[in-house]
């Protein structure tokens, strides 16, 4: 029997555990876009993102016997992927400029950043320019902030799911997301302001 699209991730994984390869195919297909999107945003290139995507599912299959019943599949898959991303960073000798300990010391609070952003007429910048500016700003975030932001905004994970995926407390997730958004708003503001001034000139 082919697994239907409505079958939950957990039910699919149970079938994979029982040796149903078709269920694995459905599961991989289900994660194809979102997980690849996450990896691409975190790693910045398609080739590495594809490699880590495949490696993620190799680990999923390898660690199936250890998957506890009742646990959510999505955070587990993202936890594996997130750890693999960290390995890539390490192999690149990536140095985190902002460590977890430094969180909260990133400047003004989110509400202030947003209020300031509201005063910037970002509509004046073209759609494509805005996208480039946002992508640059996301790339400039520290890996931990970017990880939380991508999972929250682009992957649409709930706070609890992000906490499970990143294996950190719920409060840490919230503060990481707040910091990431505040920093993003602060990073975008001058870019958009500059562009707006240039257009006026």
């Amino acid at each position: 029997m082919q697994p239907s699209v409505e079958t939950s991730d957990e039910a699919l994984l149970a079938r994979v555990k029982a040796g149903d390869e078709a269920a694995l195919e459905v599961l991989v297909e289900r994660f194809r876009r979102p997980l690849f999107g996450y990896l691409h945003r975190m790693l910045g290139n398609a080739a590495e993102a594809e490699d880590v995507f495949q490696e993620t599912f190799l680990r999923v299959v390898k660690h199936l016997p250890r998957f506890e019943e009742g646990r959510r599949v999505k955070p587990w898959v993202y936890a594996i992927a997130s750890n693999l991303v960290k390995n890539v960073y390490r192999s690149r000798k990536y140095r985190e400029k902002t460590s977890i300990d430094q969180e909260g010391a990133e400047g003004e609070p989110l509400s202030a950043s947003l209020a300031a952003l509201a005063q910037t007429p970002s509509e004046l910048a073209s759609e494509s320019e805005r996208a480039v500016a946002v992508r640059d700003a996301i790339d400039r975030l520290s890996p931990v902030s970017r990880d939380a932001l991508v999972l929250f905004y682009f992957q649409g994970l709930a706070y609890e799911e992000i906490a499970q995926a990143l294996e950190v407390p719920l409060g840490t997730v919230k503060s990481r997301i707040h910091n990431a958004l505040a920093k993003l708003a602060a990073l975008l503001r001058p870019t958009l302001e500059t562009r707006t001034e240039a257009e006026h000139a």
């Binding site: 694995l24 195919e25 991989v28 495949q54 190799l58 509400s111 970002s122 805005r130 946002v134 707040h178």
Partner: protein
């Protein structure tokens, strides 16, 4: 900050994600300029983030992933060939085995019979033990007397420093208590020691000879007495502190010295005169 303002701030990430405020939150934003700006900024940031297109994976990503999983499974399930040669680390040889090779001249002996091999090993072990014992005895005999002699020399030197300290103490004491030497029973022994310590002329440890084991503060290891009027101060060890026939002495006006043999007897005879 009012409660609703705080709530709206905490909802900001959700607003960025597209959440639309309703009920009391929406009503509050209508009347609060600060919150209105926060919501406006959150919506702007949401639009900015939405402008970033999601990267598209290749169509065959699923097929390639499954192929990689299958390959990994196949590799894990493949039994190792029966005749496969597994490289092994060479076995560590025991000391006795190494001695078997090194102790005898020529190539290493090949003793086929287990009994013969055991006997050879036992013999070599016994020889090695004998060499170790002999070396220990040799080093003990060679170096122990020198060690003991150096130790005693250090003790004698320490003892002489004590004698000088006591001599000086008695000289000062006599100078400050001229009547003490003329007393019917001049101070001597422990009484003199106590008087010198209490008066601050000498320290407790000055009266302990380093060669006397177990001597504790409060004891006295030396022959002490106030000199007759007009006679020099003389302080000496107890006989036996530094062996049977040696005595450390100090006489006022000369350096401390260790007397042995004839010199000791001459010194004692002179004292009797």
């Amino acid at each position: 900050m009012p409660e609703l303002c705080q709530e709206i701030e905490s909802l900001a990430p959700e607003i960025i994600r597209g959440h639309v405020l309703d009920g009391p939150h929406a009503a509050h934003v209508e009347s609060c300029a600060t919150c209105a700006k926060v919501v406006q900024g959150a919506a702007a940031l949401g639009r900015d983030l939405a402008s970033v297109e999601a990267p598209e994976p290749t169509e065959d990503l699923v097929a390639r992933t499954l192929a990689r999983v299958r390959l990994a499974d196949a590799l894990a399930a493949t039994p190792k060939p029966a005749g496969e040669i597994v490289p092994q680390r060479p076995r560590r040889r025991t000391t006795a085995e190494l001695l078997e090779t090194w102790a005898l001249p020529g190539p290493a002996p090949r003793v086929a019979a287990p009994e013969g091999r055991a006997f050879l090993r036992l013999t070599i072990q016994a020889a090695a033990a004998l060499v170790i014992v002999a070396a220990s005895v040799f080093f003990t005999l060679e170096f122990y007397p020198a060690y003991v002699s150096a130790l005693e020399e250090r003790n004698v030197h320490g003892c002489q420093e004590h004698l000088e300290a006591i001599e000086n103490a008695i000289i000062r004491y006599v100078k400050e208590h001229p009547d003490a030497v003329a007393a019917p029973e001049p101070l001597q022994g422990l009484a003199l020691r106590d008087a010198l310590v209490k008066g601050g002329y000498a320290r407790e440890e000055d009266f302990l000879c380093p060669s006397v084991r177990g001597a504790r503060p409060g004891a006295n290891c030396y022959l002490l007495r106030l000199p007759p009027r007009g006679s020099p101060v003389v302080v000496s060890d107890h006989l036996g502190n530094h062996g049977g026939s040696a005595l450390n002495v100090v006489r006022e006006g000369s350096k401390p010295e260790l007397l042995e043999g004839d010199r000791l007897w001459a010194w004692l005879a002179e004292g009797r005169k």
